[in-house]
Symmetry: C2
Subunit: 204 residues, 2 copies
Amino acid sequence: MAATGARLSREARREQLVTLGHDLVAASSFEEVSVDDVASEAGISRGLLFHYFPTKRDFQVAVAERAARMLLEATETDPDASVTDQLRGGVERFLDHVASRREAYLSLVRGAGSGEPALRAVSERTRGVLVQRVLDGLGAEPVPPALRLVVRGWVAASEEIVVTWLVDGGVDREEIVDLIVAGLLLQLGVLLDERDVARLLGTA
Amino acid sequence: MAATGARLSREARREQLVTLGHDLVAASSFEEVSVDDVASEAGISRGLLFHYFPTKRDFQVAVAERAARMLLEATETDPDASVTDQLRGGVERFLDHVASRREAYLSLVRGAGSGEPALRAVSERTRGVLVQRVLDGLGAEPVPPALRLVVRGWVAASEEIVVTWLVDGGVDREEIVDLIVAGLLLQLGVLLDERDVARLLGTA
């Protein structure tokens, strides 16, 4: 591959390698993609790849960070929309994003929650951003610790429901979105007082 | 270690190695425990360990299965108790079990949800058993697909809330249990009709 083997700046080469790694993982899984495959696709030697990423783990972390960034970008919603529109829009975008890359999502985002500290840190940060977005949307300040925990649980539940549904089916897409959004709103009804809920739902 | 190095039956040796591996992982994490550590603790050679477990992955799967079995045993509840008592009791036991081994839990049970198919299968089976227990307790037959998804999401949320709470604190143990149990009951109220909910809560 003359084009990919051509001279690139350090930054461009790193970007290219991460993109290749990400695409290969998206097509199979983290475990099945070797550093050799990536080097070969890039038209460079294995040794040169390790020049850009000192260890295989460094490369995996860079690929996981790319996947996390793509997830966060794909699920961004309009901060000026109502809370329920933001929740609904965020869930729909999350569902579509995961649907387009279920295996890669499992490997890169969820699997990163494993015992490996550097990968777990990527996963933790990503989940933290999703949780903070919801909390910002709710506008509770300061955030009660119980509310933060409930939102974290809701993000985990949403992920599990979407990942399972993509395999098992049996429920309409719209019903899945309804179920997920309702799951949070019902718990907010217990945690917040009536005025807050009315304000959030735009019925105050 | 003369005692551990002694001759053992094949089955007893496998059990011993899995127990050692499990205890070592429980004290640190999957990534930090080497097969050499386990062989050394057992007073046998690395080669002999591979006689019992052909690959490191086989050994890891056996250790993950042990951890999963311990989790399932620790969280069993009385099937004759009311649904809410079973839910509450199950959540309390889950919380205590994870509290006593957070790192090992993350590595062995949650981390097993990673991209590695054999480990992911252990994690999937374990979660499947927990979900089925809740569904059996609810007694809905046949199980509506939406209900199964909601229960799966609830199990994932419970895990996330407990794991986060063990680090962050800020909420009483009893409040955490309340939050988790309420999370499911609220959703059941939407999915089941009023008579079913009254029956489940013992207020029919």
